[in-house]
């Protein structure tokens, strides 16, 4: 069922769900939404499954013309969404009629918006996921970002009778300054004590060379003991590599699955969502926590996600 006609594609708009798990050993990255929490919320607001595919919209939003009446929700970073030129609220169920046009404007906060469509987006499931992996050229719409003229297909499902709104206290606030909790290792011992101290006590700036593969950061040089390379081992999103130049790179969801730079630390899972909303010139600070505390935070984060559906406010 054709739901939207892409009039303008925006800067980098892709189809993403919660990601592709189980194929790292074949060199296939996890991909999926850079901000998982916002994707799940967008889905729940239109009574979708938490893992349904949404559009991930980066900085400059697309222009989409509705080909049928449907319900949507827009969450994540605030890119000033509009329907027919009128500003619309985020984090709640919206109705759009056939012929209506969704567009975006100024970046108010964050980096990525998620647009869910009632029933989900109908693209092929590849290796267990609908997520687009641009470098591998598969997933989503032909393995690429949207282009003008594309048609977004959905499923013929009945509209929901209730509409919902996220409670204010659960809406994440995105500023330009992110604190990321990290667990030191696996190769923290390849850095001098001073190097680790530099990493943990200074703000780093997100550079323009940042995308779904990773954030290159600028800031004080992190000192290695001797070597700045290792025999390649595995990477996961959140890993913080420090190549020879001493500037950290935070690995994100489309990154290669192995790498040859030492990893000083790995960001904790809940903070990956925040990193997914960091944009060039934003500040990132790293704060060390113990594994025990990281588990506690992870369980809290999972509880927030799994209880979200019961906490949405019915608006009709």
């Amino acid at each position: 069922m054709n739901l939207f006609h892409v009039l303008k594609p925006g800067f980098f708009t892709t189809v993403q769900d919660l990601g592709r798990y189980g194929y790292l050993g074949y060199g296939v990255p996890i991909s999926g939404a850079m901000d998982t929490f916002s994707l799940v919320a967008a889905n729940l607001l239109v009574e979708n499954n938490p893992n349904d595919a949404c559009l991930e919209i980066t900085l400059i939003g697309p222009e989409l013309k509705a080909l049928a009446d449907t319900q949507i929700a827009i969450t994540g970073g605030n890119l000033s969404p509009k329907i027919n030129g009128e500003t619309v609220p985020m984090w709640q169920t919206l109705t759009i009629h056939k012929g209506g046009v969704i567009s975006f404007g100024k970046v108010e906060n964050g980096c990525r918006s998620y647009l869910s469509i009632r029933g989900g987006i109908n693209t092929p499931t590849i290796l267990g996921s609908k997520s687009t992996y641009v470098r591998g050229k598969f997933g989503g719409i032909e393995g690429r970002w949207l282009k003008a003229g594309d048609v977004i297909e959905g499923f013929n499902v009945p509209p929901i009778e209730n509409t919902y709104k996220m409670p204010e206290n659960l809406v994440p606030r995105f500023t330009n300054d992110f604190t990321v909790h990290v667990i030191l290792g696996p190769q923290a011992d390849m850095f001098t004590e001073k190097g680790v101290e530099t990493f943990l006590s200074n703000p780093y700036k997100v550079t323009i060379e940042s995308d779904r593969m990773g954030h290159r950061l600028e800031g004080p040089t992190i000192e290695h003991k001797r070597k700045a390379d290792i025999v390649s081992d595995a990477l996961l999103p959140g890993a913080i590599q420090v190549p020879k130049n001493g500037k950290p790179i935070v690995i994100m969801r489309d990154a290669q699955t192995t790498g040859g730079y030492p990893k000083i630390a790995v960001a904790t899972t809940p903070d990956l969502d925040r990193l997914g909303q960091a944009k060039p010139n934003d500040t990132v600070r790293f704060s060390e926590i113990t594994l025990e505390d990281a588990y506690k935070r992870l369980f809290e984060y999972r509880k927030t996600l799994s209880s979200l559906v019961g906490k949405l406010i019915k608006t009709v």
Binding site: G25, G27, F138, S232, A234, T269, L291
Partner: protein, 241 residues
């Protein structure tokens, strides 16, 4: 011969949902065999909370669910299966795959450089590269890219100083003592000496990659005509390497 396997296995934390079991810090078949044996042993033992295994040159990354197990519990489970590891090492039998390659020319623009660098003829480089059996150490970099080794010292060559923005799919490259095959068009810095017409990765295959860690690969020099013929067959899915 010195194997470089650590006397004591290293366990390293990797964020809140993974850990690394490291057997060494060099590129070495004995270390890699141990990594793959551990990966297979854990798979068979179906340890609670283990979600995914990523074998690499010298270590195994284990992704786990901390709601079902912890870093410490996993380490003690792994220490207990060391005996089974010995058996897995003994029985390890893997695939042997022959990869047809056109060397040189537009297919292998760096073949002449590699020959010059070592004071060899192009034919000698081809012979040295294709007469040896290589071990698939790991798959990484991009989907389906096999890291193969070890390349004979006579043709081991450093990477390009500036990586190419586009390396065609199927390109066979050398980086020091490693050789590899680019499964798709991507930027890349390895010295490209040839190209294979066969497909290494297809997201619609199950599993999606032709090669897996522990397999053996041998390159077979072919002509341009054979390249075209195999390419046609491979497109139809009718070529069995």
């Amino acid at each position: 011969m010195k194997t470089n396997v650590y006397m004591f296995t290293r366990y390293l934390p990797f964020g809140d949902s993974a850990l690394i079991v490291e057997f060494g810090d060099t590129i070495n078949a004995a270390i890699n065999r141990k990594v793959i044996a551990l990966s297979e042993t854990i798979k068979k033992a179906s340890i609670k909370g283990v979600e995914e295994l990523v074998p690499t040159y010298r270590s195994l990354l284990i992704r786990y669910n901390p709601a079902e197990t912890t870093y410490q519990q996993l380490i003690s489970s792994i220490e207990k299966i060391e005996k089974a590891l010995e058996e897995a090492l003994l029985e390890a039998k893997k695939g042997r795959i022959v990869i047809p390659v056109v060397y040189g020319g537009v297919y292998g623009p760096d073949l002449s450089y590699v020959a010059e660098y070592h004071g060899l003829t192009e034919e000698q480089v081809v012979k040295l590269h294709s007469e040896r059996e290589y071990r698939v150490y790991m798959i990484g970099f991009v989907a389906g890219f096999p890291y193969l080794g070890d390349v004979p010292d006579e043709i081991a060559t450093p990477r390009l100083e500036t990586p190419r923005l586009k390396v065609p799919a199927g390109s066979v490259g050398i980086a020091e003592k490693q050789t590899g095959i680019y499964p798709c068009e991507t930027p890349g810095g390895w010295r490209i000496i040839g190209r294979t017409p066969i497909k290494l990765f297809d997201p619609l295959w199950q599993p999606p990659a032709l090669l897996k860690p522990g397999d053996t690969v041998k390159f077979k020099p072919i002509s341009e005509e054979e390249f075209a013929r195999i390419e046609e067959l491979a497109k139809k899915g009718a070529y069995k390497p």
